[in-house]
């Protein structure tokens, strides 16, 4: 029970601190879940985001479910998920009556002009950190470059990139292992 509460409260904390959509959650997750709690590694975070891209639902929620499940089974997955949505539920319900005026307030607009710049920098730092664990040789560097360029320049579905990368990974690992045995 204690662990479920800890999952709920940690993910509620992550939910409150996530400004600007699911990807803005990554730097917060790295700090709270990887560094402070040790519930997942950088590599696992990259795995969860990849799976979240091609499964139904909100990526932030999928990541919470994964980590909760790994930590304390099915109940853990549900506790973490409820945690991540809880702040939205409270904040939106409180603001609902005045919500459209809220986003028109001058100070709110000014604050978010600053926050958006900060979120860019934090996502850049998070990608850098993630890259050190996921781009480990020239093959993975190639996959990274192809997918990043493809996702920026084209409208191809993330599902296609995920399938492409998984197939490349299996083929490359099989060939690399064979090469190793041959030498």
């Amino acid at each position: 029970m204690k662990e479920l509460l800890s999952l709920f409260s940690t993910f509620a904390k992550v939910g409150v601190m996530t400004f600007g959509g699911g990807y803005a959650m990554l730097p917060i997750l790295q700090r709270e879940v990887v560094e402070n709690k040790g519930w997942a590694t950088e590599e696992e975070l990259a795995d969860y985001f990849a799976i979240g891209q091609c499964t139904p639902g909100v990526i932030a929620v999928n990541t919470a479910t994964f980590i909760g499940r790994k930590q304390s089974g099915i109940a853990g997955g549900i506790a973490a998920t409820l945690g991540i949505v809880f702040p939205s539920l409270v904040i939106i319900s409180l603001l609902a009556g005045v919500i459209t005026q809220f986003s028109e307030l001058t100070w709110v607009k000014n604050a978010f002009a600053g926050i958006r710049v900060c979120v860019c920098v934090l996502i850049f730092n998070a990608v850098w950190k993630l890259g050190q664990k996921s781009v480990v040789d020239r093959w993975t560097a190639g996959i990274f470059a192809i997918v990043a360029a493809g996702a920026i320049l084209t409208k191809i579905s993330p599902v296609a990139f995920v399938l492409f990368a998984a197939v490349c990974g299996i083929v490359l690992q099989t060939l690399l292992k064979k090469g190793g045995v041959g030498q």
Binding site: G15, V16, M17, F19, G20, G21, Y23, A24, L26, R31, A46, D47, F49, A50, I51, C54, T55, P56, G57, A60, V61, F66, R69, V85, S88, L89, I91, I92, S93, A96, I99, S103, T106, K109, F112, A113, G114, I115, R116, V117, C118, I123, F124, N125, L130, G131, S134, I143, A148, I152, P158, V159, V162, F164, A165, V167, C168, G169, I170, T174
Partner: protein, 193 residues
Amino acid sequence: MIYLRLFWEFFKTGLFAVGGGMATLPFLYDISDRTGWFTHSQLADMVAVSESTPGPIGVNMATYVGFLTGGQAGGMAAGVLGAAVATIGLVTPSIIVILMISAFLQRFRDNRYVNGAFYGLRPASTGMILAAGVLVVKAAFLPDGLSAFDWRLPVLAAVLLALTNLVKPTKKLHPIVFIFASAAVGILLELSQ
């Protein structure tokens, strides 16, 4: 039973919207057309609001629509119940799918094909996050197009980059510290003007 219908509509959205929060938008427009629970312009407002409140955008939208729809049936408490029902509807399919994938991965963790797949997936995932970051860059630095470029924004970004990576006493601070500091800077310098 409005709550059952709310749950079902958002359950379908959660099941079919693949690729993150914004992927829920077309489904929400469809709900609006079929049920009349909320208007297109309320939905457009919500996109703006989601960007200025914490939390994942998909979840915020479900909560807001649930609150509006429940609230029409009878006041604040009904609104909160509607918000909870819609949100739980949205996340239920992904909980089920992720729990299944997670069980599968645990079982095949040492399978060399699964390992090979993740060897390729990790750099791809990093690349896709970088690509999503590029969209955020556009919204942050050019909110009103190229002609309204404000040089103070890249200066703020450079300062933040230095503080989070180079300056010893600040680089270990929690990310939320920088978010709040940037909000304060935004208000003081009137950055959206």
